[in-house]
Symmetry: C2
Subunit: 266 residues, 2 copies
């Protein structure tokens, strides 16, 4: 079984992803997790809802989510992006079913109502935050769908243990899911050739990372890439043996990543 996590960028070659998944599904089940950050930001701008990006004391960036921001999040991720991706898979002959982490308690998260952030050099406490960390997933629901030939197309938000809809880190959630499903391989696709030594130089690709030395490479990972690498570490800790970082913009994004054209963490 293969879990593919696709970023929410504009230039992801979705037809390529669909073609690759249709081919791979002939030999093994696939689960797809996707983001929609660019769409969320666009919609928030149109609705004049501020997207407040914050940084934790350990340097990890995230988005502060109040009730208004959560509505935008639901619309962009579970409404627009998820259903358009599902329709595209249908067009490639893949019977996809879109699910958010809320559906069937697919992603259950420990709510973090209060978060510490660093702003202008000062540490502050933010309250009323609708976010959380995924701790358990409903792998039973995924297996039912897979057993009947469906492709689960999964996106945030998650559901807290108190049944509130909460924003969550997609990469962490995917890693928890991979661990609970006992997966050996994961693919992360985004708008870069892989992990780069210099984020401004696409030729500075790091081809191979020892899965037990991920922390050594954290200095090369900025912002969202840092979360991805931390997600990979979590996945490895949960038993995943190989993680492929690949370029979502190529003609065959998934097959290229599996062929080791990006960064292989093994």
């Amino acid at each position: 079984m293969l879990l593919i996590k696709t970023g929410g960028g504009k230039d992801i070659n979705w037809d390529g992803v669909c073609r690759d998944v249709a081919e791979i599904r002939a030999t093994e089940p696939v689960i797809l997790v996707h983001g929609a950050s660019v769409r969320r930001d666009e919609l928030a701008a149109r609705l004049s809802v501020p997207v407040r990006k914050v940084v934790s004391p350990s340097g990890v960036s995230s988005v502060y989510t109040n009730a208004e921001a959560m509505e935008v999040f639901l619309m962009a991720y579970a409404g627009l992006a998820n259903k358009q991706i599902v329709a595209r898979f249908q067009n490639h002959g893949v019977n996809a079913v879109g699910l958010s982490g809320v559906d069937g308690r697919l992603w259950q998260a420990k709510a973090k109502k209060e978060i510490l952030i660093v702003e202008n050099g000062k540490t502050k406490l933010l309250k009323d935050n609708l976010s959380g960390r995924v701790e358990t997933t409903n792998v039973g629901l995924l297996r039912i769908l897979l057993d009947h030939g469906y492709l689960p197309v999964v996106c945030p938000p998650a559901l807290s243990f108190e049944n509130e809809i909460v924003n969550t880190d997609n990469d962490t959630a995917a890693a928890v899911m991979a661990g609970e499903l006992g997966l050996e391989r994961m693919v992360y696709l985004f708008e870069a050739p892989g992990l780069l030594r210099d984020p401004n130089d696409e030729t500075s690709l790091i081809s191979r990372i020892d899965r037990f030395k991920i922390e050594e490479f954290l200095p090369f990972a900025r912002e969202r890439m840092k979360k991805k690498l931390l997600g990979v570490k979590r996945a490895v800790d949960a038993g995943v043996k190989t993680v492929y970082f690949g370029d979502g913009r190529t003609p065959n994004p998934v097959k290229d990543a599996l062929a080791g054209k990006g960064t292989v963490i093994a």
Copy 2:
């Protein structure tokens, strides 16, 4: 098995619906279909996307849906309303799974790219319309979820046979689904006590309608109510024996409807 169709109005007592469904599910499986027209209209206004309501030559109202309107539709129905309803059911201990008609080809529709409308007394042809009529449904997917204890929470849009996302009449889709599932009973909830002789007089309730004489009551049904009654006729033609129209605003909307407090079509 019971299929409940809930309108998209603001004053639907969702906690009441959740409580009733939780109780009814102890003895029989339930499927819920919901609208979100008020949210769609609100979002369209915030985004300055016009909602073009049109009337067919036979007097049935619908919404003209171009690509921009479809994005608003997806966000309001499949994103915001569907996931918030699912979370509310979870809060009532019901393991709900939200699905649009696109997911798993749940609702397959024959596209109507061109529609005839009447505007200012003249009949016109509108092109590039993203809507369609649901002809078949994936009852297999519903049965899989029901067999494993999930509550399917279903909303439009549908998927055309050419794999385009299309707007569709919810009431018709629910009727087709009820027919294919071989259901005997359906409940329609909305913001009125039932079918009224005078839509402005809530005491003018029509308590009982012979299911083979639905057409005689069409003159009492305006706009959206007309579509509901036509949906009911379709459901009856497909084998449904009793349809309950009920007030979604009461403390126990589903139980009250099943107790015959609204309009019973039998």
